[in-house]
C-alpha cells in the first residue's frame, strides 16, 4: 500500500478506543460517594478500598467486599462508599488509584492484594495524615499497617473433616503456587488430617494458576485417578470440587462456601471474614489507638479463629455429628490460645523432628514456611 489508508487508520483508532473503554476504564468502577455527611451534618469518616478483582468474584474480593459492607453497617459514622475494582497490580495503576482515593477525602485506605504493597508504601509517604492498611504483604510504615489472616487454622479444622471422611487414606490437594501462604495451608490441613487419621496422606499437585478452572479440574481428576477420595484445594475456582462431585467423591472448598457449585461433594470450605477486623481497625484509628508496628512477624495484624477473621463455611449433610463436635472442640482449643496448629512435635517429610515437643513456631517462621510436614506427598520446587 503506497498511500495512507485513512479508512484503516480510522477503523484502528475506533477499535482501540472501544477496547480501551471496555478493558481499561470500563472495568474499573469507582463508586463516588454522594453523601459524605450524615443527617446531623457531621463530617463522616471516609474509608476507601482497592480491590484486585470484581466484588462478585465469589472468592477473595467478594470476602473483602462483605467486610466493607459490614463496616458500613456497624459504624454509622463511616462512609466506605469509595471502592475501586479490578485494579492492576502494576505500580502506575495502583499508585494512581490509591492517590485518587486520598484526593477524594478518604482518611483510611485498605489495599487488598499482595501486589499493592510497594504502591501503598509509596503513596503513604506523601500523605502522612492518612492511614493505609495493606493485606497479605510484609512492609509497614508509620502510617501503613500490614494485615492478614491465619487461614491455616481454618484449614487445620477442615483437615479434621477430611481425615474423618477418607476411606482410601489418600487426600488430594490442588494447590496454586509453591509460596509460603499455600505451603502453610497444606501443612495446617495435613496436621488436621493426621490428627484424626495418622495413616492418611495428602497428595499435592501444583497448577501454577489461581484462576484456570479447567486446569484445576484436570489436576483434581489426576488426583482422583491416583486414588484420592477427598479433594481439597487452594484455588479460586470450584473446578476441583466439580471434579470430585462428578465421580461421587468428597471435597473441601476454599475462599467462599463452594457448596452451591458441588452440593454433593463439598463438606465445608475454609472462608475469610474480614468484617470484624475492619470495624476494630477503623475504631482504633478514630480513637487514636492504632499502632502499625509489626507485632506478628512482619505483620501488624494476623488474626485467626479467635478474632473470627477465618472460619469454616456451614457443613454439608454428609458430615457426621461426631466430626462436627471434634471440629468445635479443636476450634475452642485454638481460640483458647495455649495451643496452635504448629505446636511440636512436628516432623518434616523425611520423618525428622522439625519442631520439638511443646515448642510453638514463631509467626515469622510461619510466614516464611518453605517445607512440608510429614504426611504430605509432593515436592516444593
Amino acid at each position: 500500500m503506497k498511500k495512507i489508508n485513512f479508512k484503516a487508520v480510522l477503523a484502528l483508532t475506533t477499535v482501540l478506543l472501544v477496547a480501551l473503554l471496555a478493558t481499561g476504564c470500563g472495568g474499573q468502577e469507582s463508586k463516588q460517594s454522594e453523601q459524605s455527611k450524615d443527617q446531623q451534618g457531621e463530617e463522616k469518616l471516609k474509608v476507601g478500598f482497592v480491590y484486585i478483582g470484581p466484588v462478585d468474584d465469589a472468592g477473595w474480593t467478594a470476602a473483602h467486599e462483605q467486610g466493607r459492607q459490614y463496616l458500613e453497617e456497624q459504624l454509622p459514622y463511616v462512609d466506605a462508599s469509595d471502592y475501586v475494582e479490578n485494579v492492576p497490580e502494576n505500580p502506575s495503576d495502583a499508585e494512581r488509584v490509591i492517590t485518587q482515593l486520598v484526593e477524594q477525602g478518604n482518611k483510611i485506605i485498605f489495599t487488598t492484594s499482595f501486589g499493592y504493597m510497594d504502591p501503598t508504601i509509596n503513596v503513604a509517604k506523601k500523605y502522612p495524615d492518612v492511614t493505609f492498611l495493606h493485606c497479605s504483604g510484609y512492609r509497614t510504615a508509620e502510617n501503613v499497617g500490614a494485615y492478614f489472616g491465619r487461614m491455616y487454622q481454618a484449614r487445620y479444622l477442615s483437615g479434621l473433616v477430611a481425615g474423618k471422611a477418607t476411606k482410601s487414606n489418600i487426600i488430594g490437594y490442588v494447590a496454586a503456587f509453591p509460596i509460603p501462604e499455600v505451603i502453610r495451608g497444606i501443612n495446617g490441613f495435613t496436621l488436621g488430617v493426621r490428627k484424626v487419621n495418622p495413616d492418611a496422606k495428602v497428595k499435592v499437585v501444583w497448577t501454577n494458576t489461581w484462576i484456570d478452572a479447567a486446569a484445576a479440574k484436570d489436576a483434581a481428576v489426576a488426583l482422583l485417578d491416583a486414588g484420592a477420595d477427598v479433594i481439597a484445594q487452594h484455588q479460586d475456582s470450584p473446578g476441583p470440587q466439580q471434579a470430585a462431585e462428578a465421580v461421587g467423591k468428597l471435597g473441601i472448598g476454599y475462599n467462599s462456601d463452594m457448596s452451591k457449585m458441588a452440593p454433593k461433594a463439598v463438606m465445608t470450605s475454609p472462608v475469610w471474614n474480614w468484617g470484624p477486623y475492619y470495624v476494630d481497625t477503623v475504631k482504633a484509628i478514630k480513637e487514636g489507638t492504632f499502632d502499625s508496628t509489626p507485632k506478628y512477624g512482619s505483620l501488624t495484624y494476623w488474626g485467626g479463629l479467635a478474632e473470627g477473621v477465618v472460619g469454616l463455611a456451614p457443613f454439608g449433610p454428609m458430615v457426621s455429628e461426631d466430626t462436627k463436635q471434634l471440629v468445635e472442640q479443636e476450634k475452642q482449643r485454638i481460640i483458647g490460645g495455649e495451643w496452635d496448629v504448629f505446636t511440636g512435635p512436628i516432623k518434616d517429610q523425611k520423618g525428622e523432628i522439625k519442631i520439638p515437643d511443646g515448642q510453638k513456631m514463631s509467626d515469622q517462621e510461619l510466614l516464611e514456611m518453605n517445607w512440608f510436614v510429614e504426611g504430605v506427598e509432593g515436592t516444593i520446587k
Binding site: 484502528l12 471496555a22 472495568g27 462478585d56 468474584d57 499435592v204 479447567a214 486446569a215 484436570d218 481428576v221
Partner: protein
Amino acid sequence: MNQEIIVAILATAITAGTPILYAALGEVLAERAGILNLGVEGIMLVGAVSGFILALHTANPWTGLAVAMLAGGLMALIHALLTVTLKANQVVSGLALTMFGTGLSGYLGKAYVGKPLPVPFKVTPIPVLSDIPVIGPVFFQHDPLVYLSYILVPALWFFVFRTRAGLHLRAVGENPAAADSMGINVFFIRYIYVIIGGMLAGIGGAYLSLHYVPSWMENMTAGRGWIAVALVIFATWNPANALWGAYFFGGLDALGFRLQTLNVMISPYFLKMLPYIFTIVVLILVTKRNITNHIGAPQALGLPYDREER
C-alpha cells in the same frame, strides 16, 4: 505407568484438547481465506459467557451453544469488517478484539460468577463402542461436543481439500487477485470464513463453560485462544492435523498433573512452554522453500486485498 493411567491420560487429553480444537478449526478456516484472527481468545471468552448465561436462563445447554456460536460469529464480524472492508492491519485488529472480548465477557458475566449450571453437557457414553477395551474409554465416553468434533474434523478436511468450495477458499487465501479474476467473490468468501471461524471459537469457549467446568469465571479460557492460534501453525493449516495437535497440546497438562501424583517432577512451566516450542519448530520447517509449497502458510495470509491495487 499401568494401562489404567495411560487410558486416563488419553481420555483427559481429548477433553482438554477439544476447546482448543474447535477454536483452531475456526482459525484454520479464517487463515485459509487469508485473514489472521488474533482475537480468538476474546471470542472464546464472549462465547463462554454468553453460552453460559443463555444455558442458565433457558435450562438447555443447546440454546447456550447456539448463542455462543452467534456471539462468536458477531465478534468475528467486527474483525471481518475491519480487516476485509476497511483493510485494517489484521494483527492490530485481532489483538484489539481479544482485549475487547476480555473486557466485554467480564462485564456481561459479572452477575454470573460463582453460579452453578444445573444443565451442563453431560458425559454420554456411546453404546457398544464405549465397551471396547482401551479405545472405548479413551474415545467414546465423552460429551456430545466431543463426538461432534469427531465428525467435524474429517468433514472440514474433506471440504477444504476435496470440494470446489474448498478450492475457492484456498484460492482466496493463496492468491486473491487470481481468485478474483476467476470470478470468485474474495470479500464475500473472507467474510463468511472469518465469521464461521468465530462461531467455532465460540463453541470452543462454550465447551469450557457448559461442560468442562460448568460455571463462569473471568478469563476462564486462560490462554487457550493463543494456544489455538499456535496450533494452527503446528497443524500446518490442516484440520486433520489440528485434531491430534489439539489432543497433544491438551494432553501435556494432563500428563504433567499425572506425573506429579507419581512424584515425578517435570516443571509445569516447561510443559506449558512445549506447545510454543513445537510451534516454532514447525514454523522454521515450513519456511523452507520446498516444504512451503506443500504445507506452508497461505500466501496471502495477513494481507488485505484491494481490487484497485491489483
